[in-house]
């Protein structure tokens, strides 16, 4: 330990013992901040203190000095914990960098292109609760007459969930029929998931496809949060019910698919449970709160709606997301 440190401490101590002002204590605490930065262990601080006292009061009984040796012995373990802390902080920093990088890699690997089809306005947002996202959106489209979207949620959050999503992505990538029927999509992905994952890992997934020619939205669900349909003529929302087992439970499932006709101004809101299970101070947020929020903005572009819903719900939860948050809107505009 540098002699300079010892000299400075002695000076601070001398001043304080003489005057006992707040100014002196402030100087002492600022100095301790520096000592910590210089990796000086607490047992060393005691040792400096002892030798400073020895200079100032050379005539104290021998036993007083002995007492400091016990105090140093006591502090050794605090010093060890302190050094462990410093190395843990470094590791934490590394871990953060690694997680950021991983989140980037995930984003690149799982990227999907928003379809560009006539008369359909698409908005999407997906925000992870932790660094990595366990929700997933994948678009399958011929970019002419059909736009399909998969909205999936792994049970679980963080890295393990994120890893699972690669499975859905590569499964979806394998579709040669870009206009595949929702029930076929779920049948196939279910088989892949069932084969690859452990028994305690499940995925819920909604698949919806809009057909420009007959303005029909066809959908199927594997245990997923129901989508909402906005009927612009009646000016009201209704849930799009769909039965179906979670992905990965049994190998062969025969999913059901359903149709709904969309008029101009109608839209479908697809989401994960991270949206519906938002909690404010008064408990869970009611579905009505969300539908009212959306209805107010119904004439705005789909992307603007989903962005704004996120902003408002995030604030209601005091900026603490408990689950990954994903929202997709398909809106017929003409």
């Amino acid at each position: 330990m540098p002699q300079e440190v010892e000299r400075q401490y002695k000076e601070i101590l001398r001043q304080y013992v003489m005057r006992q002002t707040e100014q002196n204590l402030y100087a002492g605490q600022n100095f301790s901040r520096q000592l910590i930065k210089k990796n000086i262990a607490p047992e060393e601080v005691i040792s400096i203190h002892k030798s400073a006292l020895e200079e100032m009061f050379p005539d104290l009984p021998l036993n007083v000095w002995h007492s400091f040796d016990l105090l140093i012995e006591m502090m050794i373990r605090y010093g060890l914990a302190h050094r462990e802390h410093q190395s843990l902080l470094e590791k934490q920093e590394e871990m953060k960098v690694e997680m950021d990088l991983a989140a980037n890699v995930q984003e690149t690997l799982l990227k999907t292109r928003v379809p560009n089809v006539e008369r359909l306005d698409i908005g999407l947002i997906s925000v992870p609760a932790k660094k990595m996202n366990g929700d997933y959106i994948y678009f399958l489209s011929d970019n002419e007459k059909h736009a399909g979207v998969a909205v999936a949620d792994v049970i679980g959050k963080g890295i393990p969930a994120a890893l699972c999503m690669s499975m859905v992505k590569y499964g979806m990538d394998s579709f040669h029929d870009l206009n595949a029927n929702p029930k076929v999509v779920l049948d196939v992905i279910n088989r892949i998931v069932e084969k690859s994952v452990t028994d305690d890992m499940f995925i819920s997934m909604f698949y919806g496809r809009y057909n420009v020619d007959d303005s029909t939205f066809t959908y199927a669900s594997a245990g997923h949060e129901p989508a909402l349909f906005y009927d612009s003529e009646k000016g009201e929302f209704r849930e799009l019910h769909a039965k179906g087992l979670l992905l990965g439970v049994v190998p062969n499932v025969d999913y059901q698919q359903y149709d709904v006709k969309m008029e101009v101004g109608d839209f479908v809101v697809m989401m994960t449970d991270g949206v519906t299970e938002c909690r404010s101070d008064d408990g869970f947020i009611e579905q009505e709160t969300i539908t009212k929020m959306i209805e107010k903005m119904k004439d705005q572009p789909a992307q603007k709606i989903v962005d704004q819903v996120f902003v408002e719900l995030e604030k209601m939860q005091h900026f603490e997301l408990r689950d990954d948050f994903t929202l997709v809107i398909f809106k017929r505009v003409s």
């Binding site: 707040e22 402030y26 901040r33 910590i36 900026f319």
Partner: protein
């Protein structure tokens, strides 16, 4: 009756004045040496943040007694830029004030109760309470 005293924070010397005020109040309420030093350190951190990031502000010390408990509240207020990301500022290891265990999480640990109220462009009010046991 509310017993409240305050110190304006403009220069580094005012940090010392705020500490002195807090330590005196803490002593009068009956806190021991270690807790006096903790309350003073919390004031030090809060005053330092005002001095460094808001330019000016105020530290108020209020004595409280609630259902038989005696305590002290530190109120640090400024009209600075506000805190853009409260979640980040409250994270361990993230510290603008530099150094292990310092910053907002440090103040939170030194005291029993801690509340932040911040509006971007308008300022920040932090209230931290410690109860005498």
């Amino acid at each position: 009756m509310v017993h409240r005293s305050s110190v304006e924070i403009l220069t580094e010397w005012d940090i010392v004045a705020a500490r002195q005020l807090g330590r005196n109040e803490a002593k009068e309420v009956g806190f021991g040496t270690v807790d006096q030093a903790r309350i003073t350190t919390a004031i030090s951190e809060l005053a330092r943040n005002i001095y460094l990031y808001a330019g000016k502000g105020k530290i108020e010390i209020e004595r409280v007694s609630e259902s038989g408990l005696q305590g002290i509240i530190i109120i640090a207020s400024d009209e600075g830029p506000g805190i853009p990301d409260v979640r980040k500022v409250m994270e361990d290891g993230f510290s603008t004030s530099g150094g292990l265990g310092a910053g907002m999480p440090g103040v939170k640990r030194l005291m029993d109760d801690f509340k932040v109220d911040t509006v971007l462009g308008e300022g920040t009010v932090i209230k931290a309470t410690k109860w005498l046991r």
